[in-house]
Symmetry: C2
Subunit: 166 residues, 2 copies
């Protein structure tokens, strides 16, 4: 396999991986392209490499900046903006974890919390309270765990936990 083909495959795979985890394919592909780019790329570069429209490129670059996965880079003498991805994979993991925790986990924990005092003595009510309570407990623990591992740095955490489980 040559470099060109490998790059292509990587971009496709990262896109598929992203979309299996609820991240839109183009956003993941733009991210992949920037991850393996030795130098910052312009919007035009992204459009050409991925064959996507200006609107799409722009939207996804902004989204990646929102997620703290990509930064704008100014080149002196250039008017255009260039974009560069964070290359430290542990920082990448931290950013993604942080964002998804905030977007999806926290709202769920909050909702489950409101279910704690649903009244009723029927089997339905009992089963509902038990399940939502247990899920609240699980998601809260997970939330705490992620919060701590994000703070302490994922790299250290994964190493420590892997050791713990040896």
């Amino acid at each position: 396999m040559d470099l060109k083909e490998a790059r292509e495959q990587f971009i496709q795979a990262w896109g598929a991986f992203g979309s299996a985890w609820g991240i839109n394919r183009s956003m993941a592909q733009v991210h992949a392209l920037l991850l393996i780019a030795p130098e910052p790329l312009s919007t035009e570069d992204v459009m050409e490499e991925l064959n996507i429209s200006r609107g799409n490129a722009n939207m996804n670059l902004r989204a990646l900046i929102d997620w703290n996965l990509v930064q704008k880079v100014l080149k002196s003498g250039e008017r255009r903006e260039f974009f560069s991805a964070e290359k430290d994979v542990w920082k990448v993991a931290t950013s993604i974890t942080k964002e998804r925790k905030k977007r999806e986990l926290e709202p769920l924990v909050k909702l489950l919390d409101t279910f704690e005092e649903i009244p009723g003595a029927s089997p339905e009510a009992k089963a509902f309270r038990k399940m939502t309570h247990d899920l609240h407990d699980l998601t809260t623990r997970l939330d705490t765990l992620l919060e701590k591992s994000v703070r302490r740095d994922v790299q250290w955490f994964v190493k420590a936990a892997t050791t713990l489980l040896r």
Copy 2:
């Protein structure tokens, strides 16, 4: 908020949560319904409660069985099949982790592995090798971590890790 409303909200929320993480909405909703059901439900029950077609109900019940999240239950004197969800949330977490690891993480690790020996001395080749290598390392560690925590039981793991990070 009364029970009926709360149940409805929970089913919707679990559906939304699932689809944000790449699990189809109906599958997650069927799962939610079974999670809070005090007794096993028939396909008809699921169809009525969620207002979905027979085909859809059948397909998603089978998918949930595939994921080890739901089991068929036979009721004596009944010809129909009934379905019951695993109620232990830690086992639920374990099943989901296992399945997603197998479906998405393992193939990615495998692909990244094939990139290890891409040739070339250009900045592009160097950047590509560096990034795919680092990702291979990260995903392998994650894979190992999940494998171990699945084996050892997620509950114990989360408690231990949370303590470790106190």
